[in-house]
């Protein structure tokens, strides 16, 4: 069981992922964009993994990743991008900033759960 921060501006997307993560025993904290995500991260030092969308208002997911990696406290928290976009340039930018895996929306439940387990086991 892990404490996971889930960031997506769509409630529908968050609910879909949260149901799956809860069923696997994970605790899920939610945020609607990168700015809220950073706030939740700052007030919950025990977050073990971040799942984020890319395309969000306010602050997008990749910009948030850049902010996270500049903070020594959080730069070891693995980040998974869950997004409609699979542009190689975005993946390269993400990899430089703590993104360890990229999953395309809409996700498959088993794929998400097994992927998260693999990352947490590292």
């Amino acid at each position: 069981m892990a404490k996971i921060l889930l960031i997506d501006d769509s409630e529908t997307a968050r609910v879909r992922v949260k149901i799956d993560l809860n069923s696997a025993g994970h605790v899920v904290l939610e945020a609607e964009n990168g700015i809220q995500g950073l706030e939740v991260l700052n007030t919950n030092k025990d977050i073990q993994l971040i799942i984020s969308d890319v395309n969000m208002p306010g602050m997008d997911g990749l910009t948030m990743c850049e902010k996270i990696t500049t903070d020594n406290k959080y730069k070891k928290v693995p980040i998974v991008m869950l997004t409609t976009q699979c542009d190689e340039g975005m993946k390269i930018r993400g990899k430089k900033n703590g993104v360890v895996a990229w999953i395309n929306k809409p996700h498959k439940t088993q794929l998400l759960i097994s992927g998260i387990s693999q990352i947490l086991a590292r």
Binding site: S10, V15, N55, T84, Q85, V100, A101, I103, K108, L111
Partner: protein, 203 residues
């Protein structure tokens, strides 16, 4: 074989509409977890302005050569019949109108992402914006008929429906650089989304 500009525009428009329809039809099925959704021609009398009591969600996809506005017109009560299961609810009435709207807004996002990915696969780069929600009474504020002397415009109207739910998709395509789009006629867009959804890319 040489084509006139008018012929080129006609061919490119048809191809664009085919790609948009193909992409969104797959997405509505996967997003709703309902394989019974089908695409059909919309009633030509459908009026995107006078759509009382109903809502819409819209998203823009663009490049220097092209701009696409996708707008989905829907009734919250219809959408709740499909979306309540995704929300883990027992009955449609347990969802609010705003949650139904969010469901379609996310569908906009998924459809636009699929289009961007499909165009990327044939070597054509597009950027997508953020989906927006609107009440159709506000629709007069949306400049859907904007056109300049340099832009060619085409549009498409179609309907997605399953047992309980209908929605209308309006695609407005503004072609800014016809010549740069012409090569897409030779490309086959394969919608291998099922395969992509089964993959996790460890970086």
């Amino acid at each position: 074989m040489e084509f006139s500009n008018e012929e080129k525009l006609n061919l490119v428009s048809k191809k664009m509409i085919a790609i948009i329809r193909q992409s969104t039809e797959e997405r509505v099925r996967s997003h709703s977890a309902n394989k019974n959704f089908n695409l059909s021609e919309a009633d030509p009398a459908f009026n995107t302005i006078n759509w009382p009591g109903k809502r819409a969600s819209s998203i823009c996809i663009s490049s220097a050569a092209l701009k696409i506005n996708l707008t989905f017109y829907f009734s919250p009560d219809d959408v709740k019949k499909v979306a309540h299961q995704i929300y883990g609810k027992d009955a449609p009435g347990e969802l609010s109108d705003d949650q139904a709207q969010d469901f379609i807004k996310e569908f906009c996002n998924l459809s636009a992402g699929q289009l961007v990915n499909n165009f990327n696969n044939i070597g054509f780069s597009l950027e997508m914006g953020l989906p927006v929600c609107l009440n159709c009474v506000d629709n007069t504020d949306l400049d859907l008929t904007r056109v300049t002397g340099l832009i060619s415009k085409c549009e498409d109207l179609c309907c997605f429906s399953c047992e309980d739910c209908n929605m209308v998709m309006h695609s407005l395509i503004e072609i800014i650089d016809l010549d740069s789009l012409f090569p897409i006629l030779n490309c086959e867009v394969s919608l291998n989304t099922e395969l992509r959804s089964n993959e996790i890319d460890f970086l």
